[in-house]
Subunit: 232 residues, 6 copies
Amino acid sequence: MRILIVNVNTTESMTHAIGMQARKVAAPGTEIVALTPRFGAESVEGNFESYLAAVGVMDAVMSYRQPFDAVIQAGYGEHGREGLQELLDVPVVDITEAAATAAMFLGHKYSVVTTLDRAVPLIEDRLKLAGLDERCASVRASGMAVLELETQPERAVEAIVRQAGLAVSEDHAEVICLGCGGMAELDAKIRELTGVPVVDGVAAAVTIAESLVRLGLSTSKVRTYAPPEPSA
Amino acid sequence: MRILIVNVNTTESMTHAIGMQARKVAAPGTEIVALTPRFGAESVEGNFESYLAAVGVMDAVMSYRQPFDAVIQAGYGEHGREGLQELLDVPVVDITEAAATAAMFLGHKYSVVTTLDRAVPLIEDRLKLAGLDERCASVRASGMAVLELETQPERAVEAIVRQAGLAVSEDHAEVICLGCGGMAELDAKIRELTGVPVVDGVAAAVTIAESLVRLGLSTSKVRTYAPPEPSA
Amino acid sequence: MRILIVNVNTTESMTHAIGMQARKVAAPGTEIVALTPRFGAESVEGNFESYLAAVGVMDAVMSYRQPFDAVIQAGYGEHGREGLQELLDVPVVDITEAAATAAMFLGHKYSVVTTLDRAVPLIEDRLKLAGLDERCASVRASGMAVLELETQPERAVEAIVRQAGLAVSEDHAEVICLGCGGMAELDAKIRELTGVPVVDGVAAAVTIAESLVRLGLSTSKVRTYAPPEPSA
Amino acid sequence: MRILIVNVNTTESMTHAIGMQARKVAAPGTEIVALTPRFGAESVEGNFESYLAAVGVMDAVMSYRQPFDAVIQAGYGEHGREGLQELLDVPVVDITEAAATAAMFLGHKYSVVTTLDRAVPLIEDRLKLAGLDERCASVRASGMAVLELETQPERAVEAIVRQAGLAVSEDHAEVICLGCGGMAELDAKIRELTGVPVVDGVAAAVTIAESLVRLGLSTSKVRTYAPPEPSA
Amino acid sequence: MRILIVNVNTTESMTHAIGMQARKVAAPGTEIVALTPRFGAESVEGNFESYLAAVGVMDAVMSYRQPFDAVIQAGYGEHGREGLQELLDVPVVDITEAAATAAMFLGHKYSVVTTLDRAVPLIEDRLKLAGLDERCASVRASGMAVLELETQPERAVEAIVRQAGLAVSEDHAEVICLGCGGMAELDAKIRELTGVPVVDGVAAAVTIAESLVRLGLSTSKVRTYAPPEPSA
Amino acid sequence: MRILIVNVNTTESMTHAIGMQARKVAAPGTEIVALTPRFGAESVEGNFESYLAAVGVMDAVMSYRQPFDAVIQAGYGEHGREGLQELLDVPVVDITEAAATAAMFLGHKYSVVTTLDRAVPLIEDRLKLAGLDERCASVRASGMAVLELETQPERAVEAIVRQAGLAVSEDHAEVICLGCGGMAELDAKIRELTGVPVVDGVAAAVTIAESLVRLGLSTSKVRTYAPPEPSA
């Protein structure tokens, strides 16, 4: 089985990190192909960049010339998943939704800890549209920009742990979702420090994509995600 | 005052029609400039095209070289408004939200009548995110594609009136919103035939944009719609 | 065009102030007529007074002997708007809803800052019934009574700014609605001090009423706001 | 214990019928005093009349010169209950809420069957504000005006039973609330014909009012229902 | 009239206390029979114990050999009420719902103060399923275990009063529900100290059960609570 | 990896069928152990039986003497999952939630088709508590009892297909969840006949349980699902 995992920004080192994280949890026999969009922002921190990323991700997937069995969109709170679902016959999994879904099997309420404060409303909106917000205790920002997660990993862990701790003590979260593709390698550390399960969206998405493929399930084509008309 | 009104598809005749409709209701002294995206779909009937339109609309607005006071995004249920809000200092009005807002001043519940069935979930999602769905009785499809509104206006009126009638009798709507930029000239006819107020999104958006400008109000820049960082 | 704007209390100086504020934003050619109820409370701070005001406002409007094109009910969180909609053929705009509607075009979430704590649940209830509460971050009280806004304007500004600041920092509001007819002249000051858009309900209501009139739209008469039966 | 039960319209024969219905279920030792407002509509079928009734009911209660232990507002879907709660130290029970509350102890979902279609949104709004709408399957209109319940009781029963039947079969209601003070004597007949429990709001309100008095509970005075200020 | 009130744990002294509390408010002519389950936990503090209690309570009621007119399940936030409703022809009242219902007649918002923090989500879930959560300001834990209410009554009162005070000042509750069967005797003290109405679930449930019996109302048998099939 | 899958009724042939269905989708190296409760109902069709099943399932799992890595509760709309989560350190997956979760990755809305009408409210309640109801278009009953699925498979397929078709055409479902453990083998047939993805809860639950185990994730123990106290 081949799964495409598409970064939402154009930073190759993040694509690499996301691919590595995905491979760690992939089943034997699953090939992970990590793609970088040909255009877009170095890091996606707001709506303009997120809309550009939506098109960049669709372009990257449609330009890929080999067969594949599922696609993962590896951006937290980003636009675009519905477009991929229209264009493809294979399952599409967004890491924001994958993480929330996994978290809801683990505790009564979950929180998301993300990068900058301005990303919070985007994530809240995606969870709301996905109907996964009812058990979301909070979306909290660590104040660290996406690229700082790579350049200042220690400060990032500290800031994320602080917000995760507040999510548990103040917001009654019982599970933490790491709200950024770039946080992929921090989960073990944070789990240890907070004492609650920590869900990484990339890892969750890989197992969900594999599961849907194994079950022979793919996107319904009867209404919302019917293929675009040829005239378009 | 100059207001840009941006079509979401690349069909010039629709841009023209939208501009005309806007000028009909604009106040004296308001200049309406109707823009067509440089790329995108001839008509936007689904998510892929809608995401492309989001970027096409942003491109069209950012490429416009004269000063302007407000922007209207003239697509029903389309993506992209939040991106414009980040990029601009002037107010941005989406016609889906403008129509719903006006309708809510006129009756207890409103319905939207749109083109194809596949557009329904997109409109429902936009209204939900905008927090304007609570008093939405239904979103109904006439089964007419966007471009058929121009080529078969009589059948279009008939199909829309039928759904509007069902919205009133079955769903208890008291106001009808015309859920497509291309329906702009049909409102008087439909109002006469259904007996309830009919709101055209383009017209509503023009008066709302004018109002915000006159009140000296524009998009808040403190969080969600802060300008993109230069590094992006 | 003539717009009636009706104060909800019997204090003439407040009617005068409301009329002045309305005239500031009215379009050329719009005549603003400010009315005071013949009975009711000097200031409306609770439900009993608010119900009395509902009837007082209807009485004031029905007693007005000239033609008019729209009515604005200038009380924040007050009862009665639905009654006016039944009795009249012209549009009726409540300032609570007008302010919320304008705010929702400007930011992801908005807050209302009102007078006394006891007014908070009334405003929350009106926003809920109007289906405009989903994006309301909070309704906060400044602790200043309606009449103190006139007698102690400096303390009022200070108290309102403090609550507006907390609404932004604690509740993540991106826009502030001034939740009292009597706050009408304070908006510029508060806007400057908080850095976010500040919406005055009276001003917003004037432009909305004008817009509905220009669009030829009025209250739907098919169900909820059908005229009272003659037998009644 | 003395309980005032206040009709919302000025039709004495309905006040009499409401009083009789209340006495049937009152505990030994409970005195029921049925009051008619001094002003208002012969029957309350819309918002204007309902707001007038709100003030008429408050006037009737405040004009009553004997001591009393609780007040019941005997109108379905009417305004005004919050005003009474401010003015009084004794418990106030609205029959709309009393019926819904009782119904929720009896089945998973309940429906309300009321008089005219135009009363439906008023009842829906009251249930929503009271937070009792979540388990409301539907509010259905029999098409019979309030006064026709007295003049054409057979047709009324037939029309109500038909809607009650549809509420059970189509809307999955398991309990029916009779949505009008004037339906008070029909409940046994309708229960027999539909096979589900039928709740009369007047009867439910009497037992709830008695219960609150016996438990020594009355309206909280800390915020929403604090007494009006003397200056008002 | 005979009402069975069933403790959810196996501690006889708590059954005794619950019975005494019920008798204090029961009407003349109402016989209260307090039952203890034959199996289960000494105190119910979580889901496992609560599910066991659900079956224990059903067993206790079905083993009772005398006729009875209503059943009260005297556990706060516990499972099982729906099972009793299937098995019985008489009304079943849960104290969690009884308290919330009474509180909603007394103030705009109510809070529940319960024992341990882990009971909070159970109570929230029960209120949500019952559709009684909309006006619930908060569910707060005193940190006192069920059995400590008996062994350390002074500390219990202090801890409960502290949380009740915070519910009023921070969460805007206007009424407090005592969220545990074992708190039954503390209500007067707490009412005095907090200044808001305090509802004891046992007391509220007794008057509601009596009311339903007097009104001749019982559980609807058409769908959710139809009796189990004989084959089962 | 060993996964326990627990039937909720005592019918061994259904346990066998559930085990077979689970093994079909299990990954190589996953051992499926299917358990039957020692007590309970032959088929679970209502709340009484469901509460009994909750305890029966907990008993079956706690009596199992070998190590295991995850538990699946194979009943649709049944009580008890939260109890297992308290008692165990391994992940617990309910098939109702597993099916809904998978469906939400495949289409905009999903419907559940279950056995008897009386099961509908139980399923609705479980989805609501799980926060998975927002995108649920409907829960529909085929009218076939659990045991009839085995004895009359052809009629069952026909009845389920009819309801699935209505869910798609009337309720706008884009995915169907088979709402009963006993429907496990019918999914391919129904998928072919309806043209939309069909999710079997058992199959979905197996892949989700495997995923959680592979990701090293288990139930959070900080609040709701903390282990029962020893004193209990």
